[in-house]
Symmetry: C2
Subunit: 430 residues, 2 copies
């Protein structure tokens, strides 16, 4: 007879419902691959009176977390309630009680992942969090398991579905930022306060997790230069198209030969024939570049109840297999490396720089002088007239390092009659 | 002190050299993630006299397979020699001697995978073969581990690098089939006898393996309608472009609601904005569509010594971890399902059909009558004049089932004055 594993779920929102639905509908397959039966015993809810239909049949709903965390029968706790501090508290209690934990909480894992991983190890419990990055794409497991043999040089891609949806609307339907944000909010992709998404904070948190797994390094959020899409104008998107690019919000972690890592998040001009340029709407896509394997890409839905729930249940299946094999408590990612941040002089990129300036004789010379003083050359320059005797100048620079870039930007900002409109990285490969 | 695991390698060709090189250069990381040290003790070669440089230092080269297969110290055997019968024999011996096996041999796994998996189970050994499909892309592990919670509905994509390289050359550089083949041969992507690649046999073998893992079904090669690219003309590629498509060799396994599966390989018109249309050169890309997760895609180098070797070494790492945990001998894929092939009437697609016919009054009516007799409608028709009073007609049909398609094609072939030039599937989604 198969052993029955008892599961407790913290949260009955969209992801929680998705998890219940998958566990129910794919019961046979799950039982076949794990050799165990999974039974959801209790779910933590805010309101036990709410009608949840057939999904909650036979399950005890409770508003008391302790009823789950202190239930000795429960083997596995699934945390899909969100928030940081309370979730951390509950997961800590669960691990201390010897329960295995699966969470989809990227904010929690980005901020307190190491601490929780150490706790799980101490109590010989499993702690998995595949759904915390890129929803339905099994990117964490791929980095840890399948690319374990390789030295990863670079991890980069589209890791925030909301902003990719908004940029897709702007690019494909000529919507303004405000229109795109409104549509994202109407469709439930963006919160009423969209700060975490549009300012790149969500993407930066995911890059913390990806960097930890790919490079074994712990980068703090404030070590990641993070810029969102709030300042991406339709005009920039159109200009980028004219130059053969699409603007995407890209998170990037690059390992250097000196064993340092540079992590940033920001709008990037991606060559139109690059696979990332074709990633539309709320989809995510992550490139992993390894010394041996070369370039690989993993693409799929970055969010959404069912894709996220799929990743959660895959983690639950892994835990169930580990329980069956008696191999729980082994740290998911054991690769560790001293964290060193790359110096500015070694961080190189091309840039797209848009400037508004008065359309006077000598201005253009002044502009080019600013760049040549920092020894920065141009790939392309486009000048467009604007109303009231001013002009917009768009420059795609040669590759420069971060010291040069900072010098150029600060001079541009100080120069009277010039206004810096935008400065985005440009991805090579055109 | 860490335990040292002894490894024997069968074959010192390009993949074998890649494996040795990765094991050497990533020694520290591998030892950190596995908790074991891997030592390559012996390699089977054809000629021990050949100079292999630093890679073979400290390793015993032998021309006698028994020296490896019967060496009680050797824990893991890596088979990268190719061929079917001899490799099968050696792997059988290895498993019977209680050695774990990692192989990159797709032909062997497609033809004898089930038998070898059963043998591995019998002798409590691990048998892994990630590198057998899509080189550096960890697609098998992804299907088995990460999508275990989902019901997979469809697996399709570009699984042969050689033909994708050739089609890329034809599409992007207007080369003929013969020119593209010659370039692929010059670059070492194609064999001097390219049959296995260009006739789709290699892709079909990979689909056997993918179908086994995604659907738990054992499809035989002769149950897969397999067509290669030998009959793809530059004219078809140009016509496809004009219609908004790219021609790719696509392997596809589709699960139906009646729990049957339809597997085929052939040239397909892929909409130009579909991610598969952008997969260039020798790269591979596999879409996995799950009921819950939706569409995910895995992209990367489909072949090549180092990418393939990366997958081999990842498998070796998995085996080393299993040895450390004492969990070897568990079947990699335990999902099994009765194999049923979908009936023709339920297999549906649009088709691109190219016909050469005499340019006479009434001919066109005759042509349309053939289609309407089978109740097949048209999306698009293009007629082009050809020399000597004949014309080429290209049709993109409405969706039809396989019975209709066979009826139309057989009537076209029988009709005097008409010549069927091409019939390729057309992927939806434009």
């Amino acid at each position: 007879m198969k052993k029955q594993l008892q599961v407790g779920i913290l949260g009955f929102g969209t992801v929680g419902s998705g998890v219940l639905s998958i566990l129910k509908h794919h019961e046979n397959k799950i039982s076949q691959v794990t050799g165990e039966e999974l039974n959801v015993k209790k779910v933590l809810v805010r309101n036990t009176e709410k009608n949840r239909g057939a999904l909650s049949e036979g399950i005890e709903l409770t508003t008391d977390a302790a009823a789950i965390l202190e239930d000795p029968e429960i083997d596995i706790v699934i945390e899909v309630m969100g928030s940081i501090e309370i979730a951390k508290d509950y997961i800590t209690q669960a691990l201390r009680a010897g329960k295995h934990v699966v969470t989809a909480n990227k904010d929690l894992i980005a901020l307190h992942g190491n601490e929780l991983v150490a706790l799980a190890k101490e109590y010989h419990c499993d702690l998995y969090y595949e759904a915390s990055v890129a929803g339905g794409i099994p990117i964490l497991r791929t980095i840890v398991d399948s690319l374990a043999s390789d030295n990863i040089q670079k991890v980069f891609g589209i890791v925030n579905g909301t902003t990719n949806f908004m940029l897709s609307e702007m690019t494909n339907k000529n919507k303004t930022y405000e229109e795109a944000l409104k549509k994202a909010q109407d469709l439930g992709f963006a919160e009423s306060d969209p700060t975490n998404d549009v300012d790149g904070i969500d993407a930066a948190r995911k890059m913390v997790i990806l960097t930890r797994l790919a490079f074994g390094m712990n980068v703090e959020l404030d070590q990641i230069e993070t810029r969102g899409i709030r300042n991406v104008k339709l005009a920039d998107i159109e200009m980028a198209k004219r130059l053969g690019y699409r603007i995407k919000l890209i998170g990037s972690a690059v390992g250097m030969n000196d064993s340092s890592v540079h992590v940033d998040v920001g709008p990037v001009l991606v060559p139109e024939n690059h696979p990332l340029a074709g990633v539309q709407n709320e989809n995510n896509a992550v490139f992993v570049v390894g010394a041996a394997v070369g370039e690989t890409m993993f693409y799929g839905p970055g969010a959404g109840a069912l894709p996220t729930a799929t990743s959660v249940v895959s983690d639950v299946i892994t835990v169930a297999k580990n329980i069956g094999l008696g191999t729980t408590g082994n740290v998911f990612n054991s690769y560790q490396h001293e964290t060193t941040i790359t110096e500015d002089k070694a961080v190189e990129s091309k840039y797209y720089i848009a400037i508004e300036m008065q359309d006077q004789t000598g201005r253009f010379l002044e502009l080019t002088t600013i760049f040549s003083k920092s020894a920065v050359g141009f790939d392309q320059i486009i000048q467009q007239p604007l109303p009231e005797a001013s002009a917009k100048v768009v420059i795609v620079t040669h590759t420069m390092n971060k010291i040069q870039q900072k010098a150029v930007l600060s001079t541009l900002k100080e120069t009277e009659g010039m206004k810096l409109l935008a400065c985005f990285k440009v991805m090579e490969g055109k």
